[in-house]
Amino acid sequence: MSGASGGEKRPPPNWILQHPAYQQMKDLQIEDSAQVHAAFLVYMDLTEVRRWKEVSCVKSSELQVVLLEAREKEGAPTLTILPLPAHQSVTHKSIRHVLDRGFPVLLCAVAADSTLVYQRMTDGLVTPDPPVGPFQDMGRRQHRKRRQQR
């Protein structure tokens, strides 16, 4: 912000600290303020940018973090979102705790420049989607290509 002429100008109040959703999260009394900040950024992304429905924040006492619950749209199943600062570490145990809540889990990594990356986490072995066709058998074409290269 450019300084005005003359005396000092008071810096404007931090809008994040005043946001009702942030204050709600603050009330959950989580010590890790970086995680609360990350949770808030994810909250804003889900509500304002992606316009997900019924976004709420919940405390996880085992992990001492703020979790978010949301639906992508009306009638969609509820998801649990775990927001974490990207430089932090995580254990498989804590991921299992979040999975035990019974909802599909989205892990969201928040980078220092507030870039958000979402990863889906599911219990068990989920077969990946098969590659899209149409398929062409390479067969002899590879042999021919290799012989030509020689």
Partner: protein
Amino acid sequence: MKRSELCSRRKSSVGIASSLVLPGRRTCPQVVLMEALSCGERRLGSDEEYAAPAVGVSLCDSAPLVWRMQDLRAVRAQGLVGALLGSLPRTPRQNGRLGRPLLLLPEEEGLLRERRAAAALPDRCQQDWGGAELRQKHEEEEKKSFEEQSVLALEDRKLALLRAMTGAESGATSADEALRRRLQALDQNFTFPQSAMAVQLSTARAGLSYCPEARAFLQAYGPTGAEPRCDARYQVFRDLRGRGFYLTSAGKFGGDFLVYPGDPLRFHAHFIAVCVSLDESVCLLDVLAVARLGSNVKKTVLLCSPGPDARVCYTSLQWSGMI
């Protein structure tokens, strides 16, 4: 698995089959080896066939190697893949197709030991392998083969000259005469050079080993001792193998194992397994990196941890699709 998924994920096998059908240079020895191995697996069927005799495992320092063909078949029949290390006698200067010995993963060796299906072969150097007899036998066989080949070469040469004679125009009598004279002289003057002889390499013998110098060299680069996470890996390996998956090492993908729904010759891998203990702290950036890699290669990343009650819990990481 749905039939359509099976079809779409199966590797193209027509290329391999066609190279088996064509004669001569196209016949790839290693593919024949691999097909023989997987055929053995199909014949034996379910995993209950442990009654087969034990597999002989040779230890090179601490690396478990399998040398004999029947042992390789037995190992494959139990659903263990391993990695071929050796070069093929006919195509040595390439790394695409390798031959025996088969290097077992430490987890694979552990599983064989647990099933009491493997035994360490005695140290070669101490036994008397009758080296002199073997050498003499080899020399005799070579001499016999040389004599047979000389006879055949002489016949070939005569046939070639005869063809040249009958093919020549009737007008050139002098050329004809010259050829006839050469034919008559052939019986006395023909020599079959040693360098032209075709040598047969017998690779199916059981007595494969390496000389003491090679063994000393290999010892210098022996693998390091047990890693701290080795137990987690073994539990995961055993559990996934028990569910019918095939596992190989996943060095190329930054994970611990590649998990295939069937024999790796026929399917692409579905999962990259990363083995961690439940309490192990993993940097989130590493999780993101391996998950991103997995989505790029169309595989699901599996976080695997052995649980307290001898069960293993798995978490699948997938791209969320939210950009």
